[in-house]
Symmetry: C2
Subunit: 305 residues, 2 copies
């Protein structure tokens, strides 16, 4: 039985931090939760909707006395936040982050933290296309995975962090930092980049007016627009901070795309058919693993005979 | 007030044709509906689930006496079907197709049809990732667009076809054949090709095991797998038959992708942020046009504080 945290500080009050707060409430955790956001408007919103027991006007105040500090800011801001809070961290406290890349965060945050403070990098693989303090909800982490990159953190501290995420509804899996960044490039970063690109192309095409692109989007395009509506700052930082894995997977992607382009140009129907058949199997796997709904069109259509 | 059809023949009994049948029933249309599918197994399934008033064992029998004939087979099979049914079409009958490309269908079908038979190419922009006679449902076309490419078809025949689609729940818009193929390349064909490619890349990566790709798919990847689970034969035929527009938009896509790749490589955060901000506006347009749900994650997550 691991000891629950008594005071949790949420630094950054966007979709992830606010969902963590509501999930902690749902789990009946007794911890007092402080919160801080750089923007005064965000702090005001948080106070208005009852997000956190206490919203602080400085990050130093927010972390004072906390035994769990959650860095929930864009990846590019992690280092500066770590530097600012370092002198105010209690010995024995645990710092976690929720960034989508890990190598860059480990390098940016680790050196600032004083001896005796545990650093356990985390990546809850959950989110929606919405952002900001009002977009959070208690069930965001249910049945989603939280990747933990323990590095050389003490086993006791890591176990306690895992117990915390499980109480929020998530499943935990430990991973090596390089492997984490590669897996996430495949399942998340490149899909986002591609979606952004596709939507950008449609936006650029003056021969196909915006109106048409929007009207007829249900034919496939609209799924890309949801992903491409994600937070720009968060995603800019992801790509700048996972450059190597992103460029590697992107290289693989364009290689495959060129092969299919060539099959289209030469009229190689057999190759296209074989390729399109193979990809169906992965979908089946995802459904069997309970990671998506089998309802047609994600359940957006009302199926009724 | 246009005259309703008295006998409708559905050639091909997949997702679209079966949805048309259930939508006709829902609309209370009196027409007798015959059906034909090349595969005996599909015909058996259709009979078992009550799809069509009469399932015929030959395409000739199915079209006999019909005043509306619906070609709902893959684009590559349209020409052969048109050739087979041509001698059996009643003068004054109307032939429509539901293919996703139009130039190739017009060229493949048009020359076979006898004088006095109207040909009104149609493209109902509706579907799901499921296929086959059991995947259809009455509400598939509700609030979706059906593109009509009338060419030189008689106005009376075109108006009648439009009234028919509206009765099934769809909105209609007329379009020139070349413009149709370009718009669809943007909103549908290239998004599908890209989704297939992304899923193929993930499948190929042996360092990232299938299991991981599946487990962690909720981070963005799973949306691509839904699209990439669409019918392989249908999509092979789309790409083989909309080669020019597909290759043109694909060229635009790789051009943009390379620009973003370069921004990542050189660390140009400003360019990335500006790009990712611009694409949010299109999403807003789609939501305002009622073409998608604003619920986070397409409503897959249960939002609950």
């Amino acid at each position: 039985m691991t000891e629950p945290y008594k005071r949790v500080a949420l630094i950054g009050l966007g979709l992830i931090a606010s969902s963590m707060f509501w999930a902690m409430r749902r789990a009946g955790m007794a911890a007092e939760v402080t919160g801080y956001a750089r923007s005064a408007a965000t702090r005001d919103t948080a106070r208005r909707i009852g997000l956190c027991d206490r919203v602080c006007d400085s990050v130093e105040e927010a972390v004072q006395g906390a035994d769990l500090i959650v860095l929930a800011v864009p990846v590019g801001a992690m280092g500066a936040v770590a530097e600012a809070i370092a002198p105010h961290l209690a010995p024995g406290a645990t710092v976690i982050d929720v960034g989508s890349v890990k190598r860059a965060v480990v390098e940016a945050v680790g050196p600032h933290l004083p001896e005796g403070v545990h650093f356990v990098p985390c990546h809850p693989m959950a989110g929606t296309e919405h952002s900001g303090p009002e977009s959070g909800f208690a069930t965001l982490f249910d049945n989603r995975w939280c990747l933990i990159v323990p590095g050389d953190a003490a086993e006791g501290a890591v176990g306690r962090v895992e117990a915390y995420w499980r109480a929020l509804g998530a499943n935990c899996e430990r991973m090596d930092v390089e492997h984490h960044d590669l897996v996430c490039a495949v399942v998340s970063h490149i899909p986002h980049l591609i979606a952004y690109t596709m939507v950008g192309v449609a936006d650029d095409l003056r021969r196909v007016s915006d109106q048409e692109v929007i009207k007829f989007s249900a034919a496939g395009f609209r799924d890309f627009t949801r992903i491409a509506a994600s937070d720009p700052t968060m995603w800019r930082d992801v790509f700048l901070n996972n450059k190597d894995a992103t460029l590697e997977i992107l290289g693989r992607f364009t290689e495959e795309l060129f092969a299919l382009q060539r099959a289209i140009r030469t009229g190689d129907g057999e190759q296209l058919h074989a390729y399109f058949t193979r990809t169906r199997a992965i979908r089946r796997g995802i459904l069997e693993a309970g990671q998506d709904t089998d309802k047609p069109d994600f359940g957006r259509v009302k199926v009724d005979r």
